[in-house]
């Protein structure tokens, strides 16, 4: 069983569009969407949800105002400025709270209970291309890394149970907690970039993270013809670092058209951009077989 993650560093370079086409082209696979903040893959794969699960992670303080004496002890210990006294009443700023539980531990009258936090949902679903595991992190919630891990674990379980050879994961942007949770332990990271200074800058950072965690990387340059000079800069940089560029996709309106229709590009069209994506899939395939 091999796990391929599609990542980018910079957002909006085309991860999900490419992942959806790979989902069409690959055989014997399960898909996972690890962009739990703003999952989009399901908008192209149109799943039927089979199983809906609640996601609990972290702890949130709950004050019993009858017991609370407003002694202010927790204000002294909380390092996240998550506790305020408003009109002589103790109030928790849930946005600032990290859920460390120190306030509950120091409260002299046990007025604070730490409760499990419901902070999202995750789904096991079926699509015409195979099973898809995805999630929705609650609005303004934390613990996205844990939810990512849950999505990956369930995709792995489905793959094992059904003897599927491949897990295809749509990753989050950035290089922080959700990206690290997506990347660590994967067999191959496919990094989608674009020929802009931002694209190159973010590509370099995300590749360093992949190398830090010992994950092999390959690169795709999307919209490569928007700036050929930058495309060659990316190619030079990758070559120097021995990172293979497995394909380039030219800028084509057909990609937006397919997106507006809610379809993976390779299902919508057979033009050059679609062919370029098909070629890319062939190259990925040889690397994971």
């Amino acid at each position: 069983m091999k796990e391929i993650v599609i990542i980018s560093g910079k957002g909006g370079t085309g991860k999900t569009v490419i992942t959806a086409s790979i989902a069409v082209l690959a055989k014997n696979k399960v898909m996972g969407d690890c962009d739990v903040d703003a999952s989009n893959l399901y908008l192209l794969l149109h799943p039927e949800i089979k199983e809906k699960n609640d996601f609990y992670a972290g702890l949130i303080p709950n004050i019993d105002l009858e017991k609370c004496t407003n002694c202010g002890r927790w204000q002294e210990v909380c390092r996240f400025e998550a506790i305020k006294t408003i009109k002589s009443q103790t109030v928790i700023d849930m946005v600032s709270c990290e859920g460390c539980g120190l306030c509950a531990l120091v409260c002299p009258v046990q007025a604070i209970q730490m409760k499990e936090n419901h902070c999202g949902e995750w789904y096991i679903s079926d699509t015409k291309y195979g099973p898809l595991v995805y999630a929705r992190l609650g609005i303004a919630e934390e613990n996205s890394g844990k939810l990512v891990t849950l999505v990956r674990q369930n995709a792995q379980t489905i793959a094992k149970k059904n003897d599927l050879k491949l897990i295809i994961v749509d990753g989050p942007p950035g290089i922080g907690c959700p990206l690290i949770a997506t990347l660590s332990g994967a067999n191959l990271a496919v990094v989608v970039t674009e020929p802009t200074l931002s694209g190159l800058h973010d590509l370099q950072r995300v590749i360093k993270v992949a190398q830090h965690f010992g994950v092999k990387t390959v690169v795709i340059i999307n919209k490569y013809d928007i700036n050929l000079e930058n495309s060659s800069k990316i190619e030079d940089w990758c070559q120097k670092d021995n990172i293979p560029i497995i394909g380039k996709i030219h800028f084509d309106n057909i990609i937006t058209e397919a997106l507006v229709k809610g379809l993976p590009v390779v299902e919508y069209s057979d033009n050059t951009a679609a062919k370029e994506i098909k070629d890319i899939w062939q190259k990925i395939k040889t690397r994971v077989e």
């Binding site: 980018s8 957002g11 909006g12 903040d37 703003a38 390092r79 942007p173 922080g176 931002s198 507006v260």
Partner: protein
Amino acid sequence: MIISVASGKGGTGKTTIAVNLALALAKDKGKNVKFLDCDVEEPNAHLFLKPVITNSESVEIPVPKIDDKKCNYCGKCAEVCVFNAIVVTKNKVLVFPGLCHGCGACTLFCPEKAISEEGNEIGILEEGKAGSINFTHGRLNIGEPMAPPIIKKIKKKSKEDYSGNKDNNITNHHITLIDAPPGTSCPVIESIKGSDYTILVTEPTPFGLHDLILAVEVLKKLNIPHGVVLNKCDIGDQKVEEYCKKNDIPLLLSIPLDREIAVAYSQGIPIVKINPSYEQKFIQLFQKIAQTI
């Protein structure tokens, strides 16, 4: 006045809007513009504003350091740590700095006073000037998971200068622009909280609409007034506009797809530098926001 620029979906043009708004406003000599790039995982604004960095400092979070001579391996520290950042065995204490949030529970509860704290660098903060714009950004170190402490520090440092002034005349001339990271979770919240207004940048595609709706939920939860900038407004469908109309969200500015703009962006050149007519559009964008506040 603090205006943040955010979006659920990545790559919609947050940095473009924030940078061009900053440059348009900075033309007015009477305005004091501050730019905070809070996308510390992938900061990009410096590629466009090209600031001269004059100060660089480390961002650290305090992680526990165990004094072996005092520790009796009682395990209290591991018991109080909800982040599982400490494991205590019979004769060893293991600390995992990547999991530590620096809450200080272990230090406070150690009965032997065997724990002190030392800074663990998770990133850096840099300050400088881009013309008359005061520029600050942060950079998360490679392999570090937690962006919010760096964002917190960027905002804290910027606040020190002119906080607490409620005089509109003054606040309208002191403008802080925040370039936020994509998404809807903790790094975004940390970046935009405390803003007087948030500009949501999106594009007219199903992804753009889907993630805009999530971002609007975040702003409602934080109670921040907001409006939408529609980038590449002519590439997709009408659904974002319909959504904004139906939900009474002002559409502040629409920018059509323009190859000239796209090429300039790819080279790190802001729109107002290649097409000065946009300067007025960004000033108007600001005026609309100022009126709302």
